[in-house]
């Protein structure tokens, strides 16, 4: 690795921006994610920042079991995040549909629709676990870099 790619790698690890997408969660995981921004956990120390637009984000944080209504939104939002990107599935819902499994309106688990890099299990997960998951995702994203063969350009 030359000095520029080392710097880029470091910058990617140090500056993970999140976009949070709720796919029909009970709100438990959402509250725990927002807790991470609070003074007690203060994720800004790690450069983690919650963004308003998926275009600005590096890591897509998904909560909820993916209901039928949100499926298109999940795919569109995933396509809008620019490479290099990573997906963190927060809570048991995106991993297994949790208590919602078997419902006719649930299209989960999440991995059926988009590739997931990190699972943070728990119902809801502890903020420490969420921070750990995001930090791991940032490392994965930096190690992977921009994939050589483009899996389709980001959507307009």
């Amino acid at each position: 690795m030359n000095i520029f790619s080392r710097l880029m790698h470091r910058a990617r690890v140090k500056s993970p921006r999140l976009f949070h997408l709720n796919t029909g969660s009970c709100n438990g995981c959402d509250i725990e994610l927002v807790t991470c921004l609070s003074p007690r956990y203060d994720v800004e120390q790690l450069g983690i920042h919650l963004e308003g637009s998926p275009r600005h984000a590096d890591i897509l944080c998904i909560t909820g079991p993916v209901t039928r209504n949100t499926l298109e939104a999940v795919k569109a939002t995933y396509a809008q995040v620019c490479e290099p990107k990573a997906v963190v599935a927060l809570g048991s819902c995106p991993a297994s549909c949790n208590v919602f499994a078997g419902s006719p309106v649930i299209e989960g688990p999440l991995a059926k629709h988009i590739p997931v890099d990190v699972y943070v299990p728990g119902c809801p997960p502890h903020p420490d676990a969420i921070i750990n998951g995001i930090a791991r995702a940032a490392q994965i994203l930096a190690d992977r870099g921009v994939p050589e063969k483009a899996k389709g350009e980001p959507q307009q």
């Binding site: 990617r12 800004e44 120390q45 308003g52 620019c82």
Partner: protein, 302 residues
Amino acid sequence: MNAMALIRLFLFPGLLFAIPAGWFFVWGEHKAVARMQRRIGPPLLQPFYDFVKLLGKRTPSRHGIEADLLRLYPVLSVLSLIAALALLPVFPTGGFSGDGILFVALLEMPSICFILAGFTSGSIYGQIGSIREAVLSVASNLVFLLAIVTIAVTESTFRMTDFAGPSLNPGHWIGVLGILLCIPAKLRLNPFSTSNAEQEIYSGPLTEYAGAALGMWELAHGLEWVALTGFVATLILPVGGPWWLHAVLFVAVSFLQVLLLSGISAATARFTLQRSIQFYWRWAVVLAVLAMSSAIYMRFRL
């Protein structure tokens, strides 16, 4: 073009100084807000890492005139801010008569580009953000321009080097106060942050931006910090003394303003657009009109 102008454009307070200073000020803003909320806040190099990371993102490929315009706006903002910084009379030599007018025009460019970017992007959130920014900039610019004209009247010139330094004339200080009142609106800080209110309209005009172009916008924001706080610093810092002391004081006074404005932004909630306009058109404009009429009165009396 003489050597001094080149130094001002490329070294200090232009390119080489302004870019790291802009990052440093943006860090100072975030750190001050974090400390006020009893958080630790971002590391010193955070804005630099953010910029480098954004350079390495693959962005959506767009074609056509809109795509070129969207790429042009942030670059134009950065360039005009660097040109504006080169006009700052940190060392009161050089300059030309009327450069104050050019300075104000260059300072306005990022705001105009920001508004156009929102409209060009075609995003509904961008358009709402642009409308808000346009309305707010009309409201705050009235006060900003009146404040600058007040200073110009008290010094009876539009030359930046003659603006520099404290003055015995009270009009000068009321003008400085008026400029300080407008900085939060120009930097889109709380309580005047309706145009990039992420809880309502995602990222406002920048919603569709990604990668390097977004990085340029963040850089432009840092440069806006340097240019606006630096302008106030040149207005209040005494002229003369060794050049290095002057440069250090310039940075220190600018950074103090960053802390002050970040403190205000952390302590206040976002005004609605109507409240922001009321603030500028009801209260600040009264101050500005009073200042200007007293300045004109003083001139006729003397």
